[in-house]
Amino acid sequence: MSQQTNKVLPQGVAESDFRAALEQFRALLGAENVLVESEQLVSYTKIMMPGDVARNTPSAAVTATSVEQVQGVVRICNRYRIPVWTVSTGNNFGYGSAAPGQRGQIVLDLKKMNRILHIDAELGTALVEPGVTYQQLYDYLQEHDIPLMLSFPAPSAIASPLGNTMDRGVGYTPYGEHFLMQCGMELVLANGEIYRTGMGGVEGDNAWQVFKWGYGPTLDGMFTQANYGICTKLGFWLMPKPPVSMPIEIKFEEDTDISDIVEFIRPLRLAQVIPNAVVIAGVIWEAATCNTTRAQYTTEPGATPDSILKQIQKDKNLGAWNVYACLYGTREQVEVNLNIVRGALQQLGKGKLVTEEEAGGTQPFDYRAKLMTGVPNLQEFGLYNWRGGGGSMWFAPVSQARGSECDKQYGLAKQILNKHGLDYVGEFIVGWRDMHHVIDVLYDRTDDDERARAEACFNELLDEFEKRGYAVYRVNTQFQERVAQSYGTTKRRVEHALKRALDPNNILAPGKSGIDLNNGFEL
């Protein structure tokens, strides 16, 4: 019964030790929560990165349902030096999905820990377990008529606040920078101890979800995009649902307009006239999310010619760039702000403003409106049908919110993508002073040639951007070591020292963000 048919072992672990560990996992979690057969593990290996799936094949997956079980898993992993990669809802598409970062790591899958522990309607706070999806939260708020609004990434319905925030993801409301809205974490450390950040360690405290900093060092950030602890509870803030939300789109005709658009948006965003994480989406992004596929226009391989893109823009009534913003408040507030936006647009002398009524329920306006008002949907997965074949890597360099910078990044990215026969499918997400320039490097993963080109392309994107002082904010697991190099060696030595101190057996997700006791970055 306990036969291991997957034939993958954790690195450096003897088969007999692995078997012994599996027995202990079964005793702790129940046999049905310890998956080792290839057929059971197949869902963990649906990656979208170009590398061979063998690199990311787990030796086992275990599911825990309580904090005590997570502690138990960590103890067993320490005993046998078994590296463990944690996922919450495990839908980290384009960044590694639910597959472990390195071959042979076991996956600790926390999807079954799915309790909404607390919602405070007055203070607008939530405390959730790892497996709680945004859809579940949304349904809960609806059912109980709680007037709070969610902010989530586009895969809303199947993603989680905890997983998204631990990877420092973004959404589209005024609370779109999710880590900024995080307040209080509970972590199981590598030694099995439980650590609560902020006010969470104070006996009898009730301010854990309202005051972030606590006392002394504030360590929350250290646990995100990292491997120093397993998060088992996450607190975060929810925005009061405004009486009126008014999503708008502004279409711009030319791809050379990007610089002017950014200069137009920045002051409005900084002054909070437009308070949400505005998006400036390129034409292919728009086309794909209203279910347009490349094959409808051409069967030629390679980059899609600009002439076709112009045709699509015309056929589908899209802009070359499409700005999505939302105004929130009372009717009066929204009206005042809308007039300011209209005024600024008039000054700019280009751009066509579209209201929800004018859009009339069509895509992509409809799903953008939902993202900006906290209604779950999965419309953005239309991106994967543009070229088809299930290959996707996010290339997400950070940029200043400055027109000239965005223009430069756009030009450079497009040129490199096209050189490798791929398309620029990108959007800018406006933070406050920054842009997440998010580009979906889409390719057909079933086509070996295209897969190789995608890999070469991604390397070149990282290299050429780095030469100009740009780096990405997050990356898929195949490139995590490469990106760590961009951020300098001192950072890596500090991270190594922390790893040594907190996880001397190197069991928690070694390799995450390039942090691994085997990487040679001793202080």
Binding site: E122, Q379, G382
Partner: protein
């Protein structure tokens, strides 16, 4: 529509919820094997929106559906048993396999 809740004074909104809540509420996602519910909350977001092909009304064999869901298929993500347990998957596969094609009630796409 979803974007315009009735203009109410903020104070009124806040008072309304003070009554509703303050106690800790721990709620877990129900694990009922309700095929329709899984379809609506997961599959339908893509398969009723033109992102995935129509799968209702095609008499697709449940075993084919469950295999696609567990393995994923090109642009379609894989769903683990921790995400959709075996009983729920079987239920949704049977629900889809036995359903008539969806009516054309969706919103205009373009």
């Amino acid at each position: 529509m979803m974007t315009t809740t009735k203009p109410q004074p903020l104070r009124q909104l806040l008072l309304g919820c003070a009554l509703l809540l303050s106690a800790t509420a721990a709620v877990a996602e129900s694990n009922r094997a309700d095929g329709e519910q899984v379809y609506t909350r997961v599959c339908g977001h893509c398969h009723e929106a033109g992102v995935g092909p129509v799968i209702k009304g095609r008499n697709l064999p449940p075993s084919y559906i469950t295999a696609i869901v567990r393995h994923g298929f090109r642009a379609m993500p894989a769903f683990r048993s921790a995400f959709i347990d075996d009983a729920s998957l079987q239920a949704v596969a049977e629900y889809v396999g036995n359903s008539p094609a969806p009516g054309n009630k969706g919103k205009g796409k373009e």
